[in-house]
């Protein structure tokens, strides 16, 4: 078997808690990520789920080296990222991109759509000005955004359209891995479906690998080949998506699944009973 595109081993991110004014000292650590390991084979999706504060976003940032990990190894396409210097890291970053949660905050309001999508190309000095302009038009078309709007500004578009702009920007450098950090949680249901379908199509057509982070367990199931459930900085359960959803092994996963409200009053009644039974698993945690 070939090496997975991304393998993360025993990743830890600890933030120091400091006390004192004159005698500044570290009294303890917040163990935001505490020994996380996972692998993603090329072309597949790992769904990382968990509640707020579970460490899923920090795990993603540490994987990207946006936060330097305290401990552990991150191997991407055969290279160890944790020991790379800034210049080398910059080159690797062409292959790893990110789509953010909030399409309002993640696009510079003073830049046109064309400049936003073309910025990664410019930063990495790819092609001439003219070829970049053509590339931007292609990218926008790829994500279902009308290329004739390249000279408009983000505020002229709805949340769903803005998320398409964010995805086009992430695709600009033809990356191998895209970290999707809650990419649809700010969107309405009908728009959410459009974006999820788009991400699936792009994965199929471009052979992309996704690290897909979300708190909505139904959304994650439809996107993922494997699932990792995080709680308190640790992965409490990991496995093929089907197995995790149909026969969860940890009580925490069970409680999490039972808490999801499903749009069916009858199924809901059964879930409610399950939920009350599993409540202890949560209060312990």
């Amino acid at each position: 078997m070939t090496e997975p595109l991304l393998s993360v081993t025993d990743l830890k991110v600890h933030f120091p808690i400091r006390r004192g004014l004159l005698l500044d000292r570290t009294v303890d650590h917040v163990k935001a990520v505490d020994g996380v390991s996972f692998e993603i084979p090329e072309g597949q999706t790992l769904g990382l789920v968990g509640e707020s504060g579970s460490g899923k976003s920090t795990t993603a940032y540490a994987t990207l080296q946006l936060v330097r990990p305290t401990h552990g190894s991150v191997r991407f396409a055969g290279r160890e990222l944790t020991t790379l210097r800034r210049e080398e890291l910059r080159r690797v970053r062409r292959d790893i991109q990110i789509v953010f949660q909030d399409p309002y905050a993640s696009l510079n309001p003073r830049m046109t759509v064309g400049r936003i999508v073309g910025e990664p190309l410019q930063t990495h000095s790819v092609g001439s000005r003219r070829s970049r302009r053509a590339a931007v038009a292609d990218l926008l078309e790829l994500v279902g955004f009308d290329p004739s709007y390249t000279n408009r500004y983000p505020h002229e578009f709805s949340g769903g359209q803005r998320q398409r702009i964010g995805i086009a920007r992430a695709l600009a450098l033809n990356p191998k891995l895209i970290v999707c950090d809650e990419p649809v949680s700010a969107l309405d249901v009908s728009i959410q479906a459009q974006i999820l379908n788009l991400l699936k199509d792009l994965q199929r057509d471009l052979g992309l690998t996704y690290l897909f982070i979300a708190h909505d367990l139904a959304v994650v199931r439809g996107m993922s080949d494997t699932i990792a459930v995080m709680h308190d900085g640790k992965i409490v359960e990991q496995g093929p998506a089907d197995a995790v959803y149909t026969s969860p092994q940890s009580d925490y996963t069970r409680a999490l699944l039972a808490a999801v409200p499903v749009p069916d009053p009858e199924r809901m009644r059964a879930r409610k009973a399950e939920r009350l039974r599993l409540r202890p698993a949560l209060s312990q945690a």
Binding site: I191, A193, N197, L217, A218, G222, L256, V260, V262
Partner: protein, 334 residues
């Protein structure tokens, strides 16, 4: 059981520089005593403006209730003076908002904030009010209630803060509780606990509830009846079981189809059914059916593009605003 709240032909418009935004445009519904009505819809459909109109909490200008009637227990609310309203708000009709951090005053202890309500509406003295406040916190499931009265909102987690807000809302035993996205800011496990709490309280206090949410699952879990809103209007209304099992309006069907299913083992290989396009601009909404542009059944030559469909009763308690309800479509194709 009787009707506690009756809303008829409610129209709330915003008079802005860009034009008149018809945020709520002809909404009718009623809430039975002790029952929960769920109002669902996507952003901008007018569900929150409906709630704020009932409470008369919208800034005027730019907002104005241009027509309609809101009768609470036989009393017309739209014509009450601000003074008279203050006796209704918080006492007979209470509200829980989405974000518990902004709903609470960060500079006052939560004890002070509960006691304020008890003194204003029930005229309790300080000592009685304090004792009652501790009982309320205990009732909403906050451990060590008496000690926690002296804590400030930032000492509580999101879920606990929402419990405090709920304690304030039920302090005067209101007969109607309006909860506007009460669990949207919370994690799923906490959401489940808060929904269970609201349901328990509703039963024990024989309160009616209006639960406003964008989440179909939350409605399925908690509501007796459901109203689906689209572009400022109710497009379908039915008992919850009926709505989820026999949806009639193409929009309701599309919304349910667009939801990823937690129990679908083929989800990975399946595409979701997205709804093309987006809701209309409410400054200049279509003269006829507001969903027509996105509706898969709106053909040329039919009434969809010509006249607005009325909200009609297809079956007892099941009302729908479309020329193409599912049951009639089947009859045509069969």
């Amino acid at each position: 059981m009787g009707r506690l709240l009756e809303v008829e032909d409610l129209r709330t418009h915003f008079f802005t520089r860009a034009g008149v935004v018809r945020a709520v445009d002809g909404v009718d519904f009623s809430v039975e005593k002790g029952k929960t009505l769920g109002i669902v819809g996507e952003s901008g459909c007018g569900k929150s403006v409906t709630a704020l109109s009932i409470m008369r909490l919208l800034p005027t200008p730019p907002a104005r209730i241009v027509s309609g009637s809101i009768r609470f227990d036989g009393r017309e609310l739209t014509t009450l003076s601000e003074r008279e309203l203050e006796d209704v708000r918080g006492r007979e009709v209470a509200m829980v908002f989405q974000d518990p951090m902004t709903a609470l005053n960060p500079t006052l202890t939560i004890g002070t904030q509960i006691i304020e309500v008890l003194r204003r509406h029930l005229g309790l003295d300080d000592r009685t009010a304090r004792r009652r406040a501790a009982e309320l916190l205990d009732e909403v499931g906050i451990p060590r209630a008496r000690e926690r009265l002296d804590d400030y909102p930032h000492h509580f987690s999101g879920g606990m803060r929402q419990r405090v807000v709920i304690a304030i809302a039920i302090a005067c035993e209101p007969r109607l509780l309006i909860a506007d996205e009460p669990t949207t800011a919370l994690d799923v496990t906490v959401q489940a606990q808060v929904l269970d709490l609201l349901d328990d309280l509703r039963r024990e206090h024989e309160m009616a509830m209006i639960l406003i949410t964008h989440n179909m699952g939350v409605v399925a879990e908690s509501a007796d009846d459901v109203a689906v809103m689209y572009a400022g209007q109710i497009v379908e209304q039915a008992p919850a079981h009926e709505l989820f099992h026999r949806p009639e309006h193409p929009y309701t069907e599309a919304l349910l189809a667009a939801l990823p299913d937690l129990d679908d083992s083929d989800a990975r290989s399946r595409r979701l059914t997205a709804i093309p396009g987006r809701p209309p601009d409410l400054i200049d909404p279509p003269q006829a059916c507001r969903f027509a542009a996105r509706c898969p059944y709106a053909g040329c030559g039919d009434s969809c593009a010509l006249e607005p469909p009325a909200l009609r009763e297809l079956r007892p308690d099941h009302r729908v605003r479309t020329a193409h309800p599912a049951s009639e479509r089947e009859a045509v194709t069969a």
